[in-house]
Amino acid sequence: MREPPREWHIDEPQARRTQPIAVLAASAAGVFQPIKNMLRISCPHCGIRDEVEFAFGGPSHVTRPAFEVSDAEWADYLFNRENPKGIHYERWQHAYGCGRWFNAARDTVTHEILAVYRMGDPKPVLPGAPRGRAP
């Protein structure tokens, strides 16, 4: 890889997080607690913002095939997507904020955002992701 010139800053985070950034909110008392009560999204770059600031970008972790693949493989990449009931890994853009794309793991049953993580990070492991409301 070429050495970037000095004036070109590449946002390669010094310590790339391997753990997903938990969806956190600061309460009035300054105590951090999970956001559970509303569709707000934690931008990994800006923090908690209202959902209306974001644009949805479809499933994440879709690999763009090389030119040489078969017609069927290319068509699969173009048209077929997972539609799970449960955890969906997807891309969002903080369109009316920093403009940055990032990944989120969302429960398609409850719309709860279980994790947000940077573009390029691997899928986080989410043990026992909740389904529906706790009784």
């Binding site: 070429r2 009560n37 970008g57 693949v69 017609d71 290319w74 529906g132 409301r133």
Partner: protein, 981 residues
């Protein structure tokens, strides 16, 4: 006719010093300040206020709140008319005009009533089974008129609506005793509290039912707490506000009805006068950390034969009309109940001097406390009794009460009462709609004969009667009857009469659904409560089954021989009460529907007669019309000026994106079908951009400003989308490429000077740029100074003429525009609008993405296939071009058409080739008349069009057929000498 105000009794609640005149179906009536429309109608003895949906039976006021199924009235006339207003929640105002919504010739004497005598024909599913030939629309108009749905105004809504967001710690929904207590506690704990009450005053039932709370009369207690909350910091009280929906992730929507201005003494609403800035309604979107539902309970009816006559009212409503409005629902009243709550109604009516004939209780054992109280009041109690039938033609005149057998499955004897009102109570069902919308689960409980919550919710707390809890702090003082609760210790009596024709037992008054309809649905094998609901429409009307859902569950369960708790219930969907569309839209109407973008030279265009139209977000001049010139004549004049001398065009919306960085060229090369590797500094190249599917997304030029600085232009409409597209691919697919993407459309004014005399005109302006054709050829770019300001000038042409596309900082646009006009006007320069420009590009056969392309067009379809296949590097969409569909030889291809016979060619006309068997062989995508010769010309997509050059096609436009010859564009200056000059 009844004497005005004949049903008004002594008591508080209305301001008798402030009479208000109003009209019902044109008849002048009088009520008092403090009345609701329903209470004022009842006070005047108006019994029939509407006609039922199917059978046109007369219907009267039935409830006292939002659950009202019958008294839906049309309010006002003209643009401010409101259809289907629930009279029970409309505050009476001076001059109010209300109309019944069905009935011909009038609601009192309705010829449609004959339908009632053929009722057996009109069972559930009747429409689906009958109105099928030739189709439903044949009957729709008549059926809708007969149903009496109210009339929406056709004029634009003159009122304003507001949408507001609200964040708080605790949202308390319901301002009754429980809500007041919860709001006070939350406020004392230091949180931001919002308290919502649908009525105009807080306190709910406790303010009028005579009970005592914490040793204080309820009304006084409510007043004290209200005053305390009003003084507390961080407490917002929203009156006349209904929580209408509980949405995903705990967003709650509220609808606030903003009252018209109060009188100077606060004595009541004045004439409908509204300051311009005051909205009629506010739609609040609330996000709270905790939601308290103190929404109370809704009284359920008893069900028996002819249980729908005017004069039959819910017992709680009868009590409320008495206490809150000093209105008696009748002179001779019979009370029927299956629980304790109606005893208070009986006492109240008796104390107000109304003749209470008896109280029929479907329980075989009446609690001693109630029995004793009735004895003191001299009201006969009929234990183990339920109404089985009623009589009367237009209003109630008598009730038959059946003495139930020991097991309540039959009737042993029947007793008749002559009365003008029947107050019924089938128990109370908690108003759990919001809880259910939030994902909470409900179950039917035998004990309370109601739906109750089964689980806790992380955000929601239930308080008061909605929780089914008995409030020990609250005891009755005045009437000595206990406060009403959905679940009291004693089991409820039966709710549905075991005898009588089910054809005449109404479950859903609004939609005219009877027990027999439910029976039919079960006979026809509908099993799920959701399916029965849809087949019979029970609970589907504007009241959403607030007084019918629970009874329907009981009946369906009985018919299916199962327990109601096993049947489940229908989904309770938002909105809880009907919401005005205007409130959802808010202020985003008319000019505010979407923001307009204005050109840097907008005010000049306005001052010089520009005819404006919207092109995407932009307001752009179509043409600058002179005197009485027509639109078409203006466009042609401007185009001829360009062809003959020169024209000046404000092209500022042209999308401009700068891409900087060491990897900028490699990055951009991923997006264009054109090879960019050979681009030189100071040169521009036309390029096509594809979606990954191979479909053309956008076109424009790529200009190399320097080896690490590029400027790309996009179509005006796609400027934002292309910038977002580049960002998405950069961040998600090629983050290692060192580039920065900067949309700069608004930073630059773009002025296009085109025409054979363009160079001559521009040379008169002070500049350090050599404009000669040799030094600055077509597709060149020069940076320098023009009139002392920094400028970028491109030689790109959309008109086919010698063109300088001059970009200066947006703030310098006007002075440049003026200077060029000053220099050029003497030699024939004219400003031109966008239509002349588009006409000239049609002549040149240049592609207009979005007009000549659609969601299927790939590069080869528009003649760019060779360029795409010649590029060896991968680019977005390349692989898709090799899919079989995109390589077919019979695809639609862009060609030119030369009209024959002189008739206009119309965009959208379909083309047929001689001998074709296809329905269509293509269509016209752009059309006009050549600027100088006025010959009709067009661009079109035609099946395998490039093989048809020279062929004749028929052009079909809405029945008119003309002919055209297929040609190769361009239609003008094919050599390009003028453009390259």
């Amino acid at each position: 006719m009844t004497k005005p105000g004949a049903f008004r009794v002594d008591g508080a609640g209305v301001n008798r010093n402030r009479p208000l005149r109003f009209r019902f179906d044109g008849r002048p009536l009088t009520g008092y300040a403090g009345d609701s429309l329903a209470s004022a109608l009842l006070a005047n003895g108006v019994r029939t206020v509407g006609r039922s949906f199917k059978f046109h039976r007369p219907r009267g006021v039935y409830a006292c709140g939002i659950e009202e199924p019958n008294a839906l009235l049309q309010l006002g006339t003209g643009a401010r008319a409101i259809p289907s207003a629930r009279a029970t929640v409309v505050e009476l105002t001076e001059g109010l005009e209300a109309f019944s919504q069905s009935g011909w010739p009038s609601v009192q004497t309705d010829a449609g009533r004959m339908l009632d005598f053929t009722a057996p024909l009109w069972a559930a599913g009747f429409y689906n089974k009958t109105f099928i030939w030739p189709n439903w629309h044949t009957y729709e108009g008549l059926v809708r008129r007969m149903a009496g749905l109210g009339r929406a105004p056709v004029e634009p809504d003159p009122d304003r609506y507001e949408i507001r967001n609200l964040h708080c710690d605790v949202l308390v929904i319901g301002g009754g005793a429980a809500g007041l207590r919860e709001a006070s506690a939350a406020s004392e704990a230091g949180g931001r509290v919002v308290l919502v009450e649908q009525a105009s005053e807080l306190g709910g039932r406790s303010a009028w039912d005579g009970s005592a709370i914490e040793g204080t009369p309820g009304s006084k207690w409510a007043k004290l707490l209200t005053e305390r909350l009003e003084r507390a910091p961080d407490v917002r009280i929203l009156r006349r506000t209904t929580a209408v929906g509980y949405y995903d992730r705990d967003v709650v929507a509220l609808l606030e009805s903003v009252p018209v201005h109060e009188g100077p003494d606060g004595s009541g609403p004045m004439q409908r006068k509204r300051h311009l800035s005051t909205p009629r309604e506010r739609y609040w979107i609330v996000r709270a950390n905790r939601v308290v539902l103190a929404t109370g309970a809704i009284e359920q009816p008893l069900i028996f034969c002819n249980n729908d006559r005017p004069g039959i009212v819910l017992a709680g409503a009868a009590h409320q009309y008495l206490r809150c409005y000093a209105v008696a629902v009748g002179r001779r009243v019979l009370v029927a109940t299956n629980n304790d709550s109606a005893y208070a109604t009986a006492c109240g009516l008796k104390e107000a001097g109304v003749d209470v004939l008896a109280i029929a209780d479907s329980r075989h054992e009446v609690p001693r406390e109630q029995a004793d109280e009735m004895r003191r009041q001299s009201i006969p109690v009929l234990p183990g009794s339920i109404p089985v039938d009623t009589s009367g033609f237009s209003a109630l005149s008598g009730v038959s009460v059946g003495r139930l057998s020991r097991d309540s499955t039959s009737v042993d004897s029947v007793q008749h009462f002559r009365c003008d009102a029947l107050a019924i109570s089938g128990g109370w069902c908690p108003a759990l709609h919001l809880y259910s919308q939030a994902g909470g689960k409900l179950v039917y409980r035998e004990q309370s004969r109601a739906l109750e919550p089964v689980a806790t919710h992380p955000i929601i707390t239930l308080a008061g009667s909605v929780a089914g809890e008995r409030d020990d702090a609250r005891t009755s003082a005045q009437s000595k009857a206990p406060a009403q609760h959905p679940s009291s210790a004693q089991p409820m009596g039966i709710r549905i009469s075991p005898v009588g024709s089910t054809l005449r037992q109404w479950v859903d008054l609004r939609h005219d659904v009877t027990v027999s309809d439910l029976e039919l649905a079960i006979r026809e094998n509908y099993a799920s409560v959701e399916h029965v609901k849809r087949y019979t429409t029970v609970g589907m009307s504007v009241d959403q089954g607030k007084t019918s859902n629970v009874a329907a569950i009981e009946i369906i369960a009985r018919l299916r021989r199962m327990k109601p708790s096993d049947l489940g219930h229908t989904t309770l969907r938002p909105p809880y009460t009907p919401v005005t569309l205007g409130a959802i839209v808010g202020r985003g109407t008319g000019e505010r529907f979407s923001p307009s973008r204005l050109l840097p030279m907008h005010s000049w265009h306005v001052a010089h007669g520009a005819l404006f139209e919207d092109y995407g977000e932009w307001r752009r001049p179509v043409a600058y019309l002179r005197g009485s010139e027509s639109r078409h004549a203006g466009i042609v004049r401007e185009a001829r000026a360009v062809r003959g001398a020169a024209g000046l065009f404000d092209g500022s919306p042209l999308g401009k994106i700068e891409v900087h960085g060491p990897d900028a060229l490699e990055f951009l090369d991923h997006f264009y079908i054109n090879n960019l590797a050979t681009l030189k500094p100071g040169r521009a190249r036309y390029g096509l951009m594809l979606r990954e599917s191979g479909v053309i997304f956008d076109d424009g030029t790529i200009v190399m400003l320097a080896p690490d600085r590029y400027l790309i232009t996009t179509t005006s409409g796609n400027a934002g989308r292309v910038a977002a597209w580049l960002e998405e691919w950069h961040q998600c697919e090629w983050p290692q490429l060192r580039v920065a993407i900067m949309p700069v459309t608004d930073q630059w004014a773009t002025v296009s000077l085109a025409g054979p005399r363009a160079r001559e005109i521009l040379s008169k302006l002070a500049t350090d740029i050599d404009l000669s054709g040799a030094a600055f050829p077509h597709l060149g770019m020069r940076e320098g100074r023009l009139l002392g300001e920094p400028a970028r000038i491109y030689r790109v042409s959309f008109t086919g003429e010698l063109t300088y596309e001059i970009n200066v900082p947006a703030g310098c646009g006007q002075s440049l525009w003026d200077a060029i006009l000053d220099a050029g006007t003497p030699v024939g320069l004219q400003p031109l609008g966008i239509e002349a420009l588009l006409l000239m590009r049609l002549e040149k056969g240049f592609l207009h993405v979005g007009s000549d392309t659609d969601g299927t067009t790939v590069p080869d379809d528009v003649g760019w296939g060779k360029v795409a296949s010649a590029k060896s590097a991968d680019f977005i969409g390349k692989r898709s071009l090799y899919l079989p569909e995109n390589a077919r030889s019979d695809r639609l291809q862009l060609v030119g058409l030369a009209g024959e016979g002189g008739a206009d060619i119309v965009v959208g006309s379909h083309l047929r080739l001689a001998g074709s068997n296809e329905v269509t062989d293509g269509w016209v995508t752009s059309a006009g008349r050549a600027v100088l010769s006025a010959e009709p010309i067009a661009l079109a997509v035609l099946r395998a069009g490039r093989r048809q050059i020279g062929a004749q096609v028929s052009v079909h436009d809405a029945g008119k057929v003309t002919r055209a010859r297929v040609v190769n564009p361009p239609f003008f200056d094919p050599s390009g000498d003028r453009m390259n000059a």
